[in-house]
C-alpha cells in the first residue's frame, strides 16, 4: 500500500486555466480544414499556449513580491509612506530635503570607496591622496565628487533650512523635526570639519590647528574639548586617526539614524502648505459668518 503523496506547496501546484483560455472544445472533430487537427486550430492552440506562458512569466515577480509581503506585512506601511497626501501648492522647493538626502548618500558611497585607498597615518595620508588622484582609475573623479559633494551638501542643508523657516514649516506640531534638523546641520558641519584634515597637506593641517584652538577658546569646557579632539595637548598621529574615525564611523551613523527619525516625522505629520495659500473655511463656519 502506498502512502498518500505529501501535499504540494501552492506555488508548485498546477494552476487551473483562466476562464476563457481553454482550447475551444465545441469545434468539430476530424482532419478537415476546420477540424481539431486542422491548420487554423493548431495555430490557435499555439497562440493560446504562448499567451498562457506569458501570463505565467508575469506572475513570477508578483508572486515574489507577494511572498515577501505575506511574511513582512510591509505593504500598508509602504503604501502610507510612498502615496501619502500632500497639500495643494506643493512645489519644487519641497524637494530640497530629498536633495540633501541624495547629497548625503553620494557622500556615503564615494566615501566608502575612498576609504579603500586612504591611509590614515601621518606619513602615508598625503601620499595616499596623491595616489588616489593621480594613479587610481577614476580616482580623481571619485575624490572630486566627495570633495565638492561636501560643499554641495552644506549649501543644500542651509537652503533646505531657509525654506523651512520662510514657509513657517517649523511651527506646531513640527518643532521636534526642526530640532532634529538643527542637530543634523551641526553634524554635517562636524563632518566638513573632520574631513578637512584628512588630505593632510599644509592647508588642512594648519586649518585644523586653528579649528581645534577655536574649540579651545570656549569657556570652561573649551580646553577639555580641544584635548578630546587632539587626543592630548599636542597635535599627534592619534589626532589624524581620531578625526578619521569620527569622520567615517561616528558621525555617519548618527546622521543616518537622525535622517531616519527626520523622515519618519515628515511622513507622520505631513508637509505644510505654502504660506501664500489660504486655508479653506469649513462649511459650518461659513454659514455662521453669513
Amino acid at each position: 500500500m502506498t502512502p498518500p503523496k505529501p501535499p504540494l506547496p501552492n506555488s508548485l501546484k498546477r494552476r487551473p486555466d483562466r476562464p476563457g483560455s481553454q482550447p475551444l472544445t465545441g469545434a468539430p472533430g476530424g482532419n478537415g480544414p476546420n477540424g481539431r487537427n486542422g491548420k487554423a486550430a493548431v495555430a490557435l492552440r499555439k497562440q493560446q499556449q504562448r499567451e498562457k506562458r506569458k501570463q505565467q512569466l508575469l506572475e513570477i515577480p508578483i508572486s515574489v513580491v507577494g511572498w515577501l509581503d505575506e511574511r513582512s506585512g510591509v505593504s500598508p506601511f509602504l503604501r502610507a509612506f510612498m502615496f501619502r497626501k500632500t497639500p495643494r501648492g506643493t512645489n519644487w522647493y519641497y524637494t530640497l530635503g530629498s536633495a540633501t538626502l541624495f547629497a548625503f548618500l553620494s557622500q556615503a558611497v564615494t566615501g566608502v570607496f575612498l576609504a579603500m585607498y586612504y591611509d590614515p597615518s601621518p606619513s602615508g595620508a598625503y601620499g595616499s591622496i596623491r595616489h588616489i588622484i593621480n594613479e587610481v582609475w577614476l580616482g580623481e573623479l571619485v575624490r572630486g565628487m566627495h570633495r565638492w559633494g561636501a560643499t554641495v551638501m552644506v549649501v543644500l542643508i542651509f537652503v533646505h533650512m531657509g525654506r523651512t523657516f520662510v514657509f513657517g514649516a517649523y511651527k506646531y506640531p513640527r518643532e521636534l523635526n526642526w530640532v532634529i534638523g538643527v542637530v543634523l546641520l551641526v553634524l554635517t558641519l562636524a563632518m566638513a570639519f573632520t574631513g578637512y584634515l584628512l588630505p593632510f597637506d599644509q592647508r588642512s593641517f594648519w586649518a585644523t590647528v586653528v579649528g581645534v584652538n577655536i574649540n579651545a577658546s570656549g569657556p570652561i569646557v573649551g580646553p577639555y574639548l580641544a584635548d578630546f579632539l587632539r587626543a592630548g595637548p599636542e597635535f599627534t598621529a592619534t589626532t589624524l586617526s581620531r578625526f578619521y574615525a569620527i569622520h567615517m564611523l561616528l558621525i555617519p551613523v548618527l546622521i543616518a539614524a537622525l535622517i531616519g527619525a527626520h523622515i519618519y516625522l515628515v511622513t507622520k505629520l505631513g508637509t505644510t502648505a505654502p504660506p501664500w495659500l489660504k486655508a479653506e473655511k469649513s462649511r459650518d463656519l461659513a454659514k455662521e459668518e453669513v
Partner: protein
C-alpha cells in the same frame, strides 16, 4: 524575571559603554607629554642680542614633519628674570612659535624685532609680549638648562602679561585678570 533581565541588560550595556567611553575620553585626563630634554646645540650658537631659530621634536612618536616645531633661542639677560623665578633664572630664553591667538606659526623679523603671525595679524615684541592683533597672552616658552656646554630645551610653559609662569595652556586661553577663571588648567598639561 523582568527586574533581573533589566539589571542584566544594564550591566551588559555598561560593561561595553563605559570602557569605550573611557577609551575615547582618556587623553583628556592623561599627561601624554614626556619630560624630555632636547639638545639644540652648543652655547656658542647663541647670543644675547638676537634669536636663533632651531627645530625641535615635540612629539617624538609621530615621525615625519608633523611632530616638529621651530623655536627661537637667545641667551637670557638680567631683564629676563621672571617674577615667578625661585632661585636661578633660566639661562636661555626659548620662545615657542605657536601664536597665542589660534596656534598658527609665528616668525621672527629681525629688522623690526617683532614676532609676526601670518594668519590673523598677531604681533609680539622682542620678549614675546603682545603688541598688536588678536592674541590673548605672550608667546609660550620652554624650560632651558645648560649641561656640558650644550643648551637643552625642556617642557613648555605659558606666561601672563607680566611674564609670570603658568602651566601650559592652549592658544586663545587667557591667563590674565578675571578671564583666567574661564580657562582652567587641565590634567594633561
Amino acid at each position: 524575571m523582568s527586574g533581573g533581565a533589566l539589571a542584566a541588560g544594564g550591566i551588559a550595556t555598561a560593561a561595553i559603554a563605559l570602557p569605550a567611553l573611557g577609551f575615547a575620553l582618556g587623553p583628556v585626563a592623561e599627561d601624554t607629554i614626556q619630560d624630555n630634554w632636547r639638545d639644540v646645540g652648543p652655547e656658542s650658537d647663541f647670543n644675547a642680542t638676537t634669536y636663533v631659530p632651531k627645530v625641535i621634536t615635540i612629539v617624538p612618536e609621530v615621525g615625519g614633519e608633523v611632530g616638529k616645531t621651530t623655536i627661537y633661542v637667545r641667551k637670557a639677560i638680567a631683564a629676563d628674570k621672571s617674577p615667578s623665578d625661585k632661585g636661578a633664572p633660566l639661562p636661555y630664553v626659548a620662545i615657542s612659535t605657536r601664536c597665542m591667538h589660534l596656534g598658527c606659526p609665528v616668525r621672527y623679523v629681525q629688522a623690526s624685532q617683532r614676532f609676526i603671525c601670518p594668519c590673523h595679524g598677531g604681533v609680539y615684541d622682542y620678549e614675546g609680549k603682545v603688541v598688536g592683533g588678536p592674541p590673548v597672552r605672550p608667546l609660550d616658552r620652554f624650560y632651558t638648562k645648560v649641561e656640558n656646554g650644550r643648551v637643552l630645551v625642556g617642557k613648555r610653559f605659558s606666561l601672563d602679561s607680566h611674564l609670570r609662569r603658568y602651566k601650559p595652556r592652549d592658544p586663545s586661553n587667557h591667563v590674565d585678570g578675571l578671564w583666567k577663571y574661564l580657562y582652567p588648567s587641565r590634567p594633561t598639561t
